[in-house]
Amino acid sequence: MSVLIKVKGLKKYYPILGGLLKRKVADVKAVDGVSFEIFKGECFGLVGESGCGKTTLGKTILRLLKPTAGSIYYNVPGDILEEIEQLEKDDPKSPRLKHLREQYDISTYRGRNLLSLRRRLQIVYQDPTTSLDPRMLVKDIVAEPLIAQGLAKGDEARKRVIEILKKVGLTERHLYRYPHEFSGGQRQRIAIARALVVNPEFVVLDEPTSSVDVSVRAQLLRLFKDLREEFGLTYMFVSHDLSVVEVISDRVGVMYLGKLVELAPTEEIYKQPLHPYSQALFASIPIPDPTKRKARAPLKGEVPSPVNPPAGCRFHPRCEFAMDVCRKEEPLLLDVGNGHYVACFAVAEKRLR
């Protein structure tokens, strides 16, 4: 499988301004050094609690936010990626590296480059009631990206809008309606149509099912699966609903306080999560089966503030396996086999398996 998106050391800090001159007094470290790859055609699930930086990561990859540091490579040939990596190691100041990064690293893009990138990378937001303009007709909402990208106008645009509406389960009848006339599930379908109308390659789904009911959620998940096959899409599925992620994703990454703590194929991580945080997280999913009730020890304490994250491993104040090294050093995301990556000293030492 070829790599579609490669993220390296990505950071996104939000400044906190204070004082009379509104100078920066601190940073909210929303995403703090995340590296991973997304393969072509897969669905990459990203889970974590609210405020752990999932959405920020998704938006930063699409360059809807400018990263503070790090690089994002989209659809870069393997040999060039290798060359960049080699150069970063050997000669981080070489003009060749600078040139390559300007050409391939989308974190450096701007202007026209960025606009053309938007055609390939799209996003579906969490709440369609707020992401759709209430004063625009469906036909205008869905056609807007086509016009902005200069892909189609007039009748041509209309044709493509109808086409995509049919794909997401709406019809021509819906063209001249406003968003408020639709139910939550249908609104989300409009948002999906709008994202897919420009024929993107990669779509970030930012909690697309969290505002709808169970039965509608199942309909939407089916739609996502069908569309992915039909258009050959690659998804990044951001959600805190672990049962949904399990159904739709091929690989799952777990985030905690701006860091990726574990990354593994879906089946493996749901069967045997290794990081203590993932273990607690997966253990707290309520199972819709009363025969499988379990006595569990819920995670103690609260997520610390991302302004002043704990030193060392960010999970150590809440972790029952915490050792001295966890308080001092930051664990790296290491491969433990089968494409299973974990950032934990206890796991690395095989004390925890």
Partner: protein, 432 residues
């Protein structure tokens, strides 16, 4: 299971008279909650779960009207129909006998009052007398301690009390002072000490008199005026504070002393929800209604809250009505479950029975639309009907795969088809 029934809801009809038309929000709802059980109520958005809970407390918001029905609450071994009682009586019930936990804790807490203020308000509304008595006894104890303090303090025998204080307390104090020569305390020191003590004593006497008055004549104008005097209720506040801290501790909040002085915006979602639950259980309610208490919380926090809810049942024997749309949560905490669809309860059964042998086609569809890995996702075709013009007969018939002729005409009765398993569907019972 033959447990006492705590709350019975019979044939409840609620309608909302809106500009678009009459919304038939509840259409013949029947429910019973037994002592010490957690009854789950599950259904999609707009199916009437919250309206059911609100109408048990007569809190249905204005365009809504409770058309008919009965809500019987067991109170001291007899049933009271809450819908027929006068408003002041209901105000006594709300928060005391039936307490409620709302969905959005941040919207529920008042942002300009501290946690202590808000929890103590509940206590003052329902348990004022109890706390007044507590404060009174602890004041009496303090007075006794004061005598001891005074007598262990001083030496000067020539000292005279200038104030015209004739309380027994001071006579004794003076007696003791005359005998004590051993301590090195200057005269002025002693004088200010005594004067301070007199002031304290006056305040205490006033406080005690005020509390007595508040117990005996709580509604008299003078009492109400006196109780507004600044710093006139310090002991009462101390007692309330102790109770608030205790409640917060029961909720598993770390450092309850500090949290008591915080304002809602300083609390995280899970903490805020705990504060709301603390308010709800502060009067040891007979019935606790939890209306989607964990919907906006993360799974790890949700797990903490669910454990807490189960503890409440196990430790205090509360009956809990747990409303949610998450079948996972239902499976985790409930003993019995009612499934609601478009304003009616379509199925009610024990948790095991419902999950293993669901009868109503809607329940079956709902259980199948839970995402499970390896299984194909199924969903119920169509959408929830508008309640302004609900489908005739069975409200589910236009989405139901088993719909028969009779379903479009006759509303299926809610009947017991197996022991403790109630269904409203023409497929079962009579017609089949």
């Amino acid at each position: 299971m033959t447990q006492e029934e705590m709350l019975k809801v019979n044939n409840l009809f609620v309608r909302f008279y809106t500009y678009e038309g009459v919304v038939e929000a509840l259409d013949d709802v029947n429910l019973t909650i037994k002592k010490g059980e957690i009854l789950g109520l599950v259904g999609e958005t707009g199916c009437g779960k919250s309206v059911t809970s609100l109408s048990t407390l007569r809190l249905v918001p204005p365009p809504g009207v409770i058309e008919k029905g009965e809500v019987h609450l067991r109170k001291e071994d007899r049933f009271v129909d809450l819908l027929k009682q006068p408003e002041p009586f209901i105000r006594q019930i709300r928060g005391k006998d039936i307490a409620m936990i709302f969905q959005e804790p941040r919207a529920y807490l008042n942002p300009v009052y501290s946690v202590y203020d808000q929890i103590s308000e509940v206590l003052l509304v329902h348990r004022k007398k109890e706390f007044l008595e507590k404060a009174l006894t602890s004041l009496k104890e303090k007075n006794r301690q004061y005598i001891f303090d005074c007598n262990s303090l001083n030496k000067d025998c020539n000292f005279k009390i200038k104030a015209k204080e004739k309380t027994k307390l001071f006579n004794i104090a003076v007696q003791h002072l005359k005998d004590a020569h051993k301590w090195n305390v200057t005269k002025s020191d002693l004088q200010s000490k005594i004067e301070q003590a007199i002031r304290e004593d006056v305040a205490w006497t006033f406080e005690m008199k005020l509390y007595k008055r508040m117990i005996e004549k709580p509604n008299s104008l003078i009492t109400r005026f006196l109780s507004k005097i600044y710093r006139s209720k310090r002991e009462l506040k101390n007692e309330l504070r102790k109770e608030v801290v205790r409640l917060l501790k029961v909720m598993g909040i770390p450092d309850p002393e500090r949290v008591a002085d915080m304002y809602p915006h300083e609390l995280s979602g899970g903490m805020a929800q705990r504060v709301v639950i603390a308010m709800a259980i502060s009067c040891n309610p007979l019935i606790l209604i939890a209306d989607e208490p964990t919907t906006n919380l993360d799974v790890t926090v949700q797990a903490q809250i669910l454990t807490l809810v189960k503890d409440l049942r196990d430790k205090f024997g509360s009956s809990i009505l747990y409303i949610t749309h998450d079948l996972g949560v239902i499976a985790e905490v409930c003993d019995r479950v009612g499934v609601m669809y478009a304003g009616t309860i379509v199925e009610l059964a024990d948790i095991m029975e419902l999950f293993t042998r669901p009868l109503h086609p809607y329940t079956v569809g709902l259980l199948e639309s839970i995402p499970r890995p390896g299984k194909e996702l199924k969903s119920i075709p169509g959408t929830v009907p508008s309640l302004i013009n609900p489908p005739s007969g069975c409200r589910f018939h236009n989405r139901c795969a088993y719909a028969m002729d009779i379903c479009t005409r006759v509303k299926p009765p809610f009947r017991e088809v197996k022991e403790n398993h109630y269904v409203a569907c023409h497929l079962y019972g009579g017609s089949k």
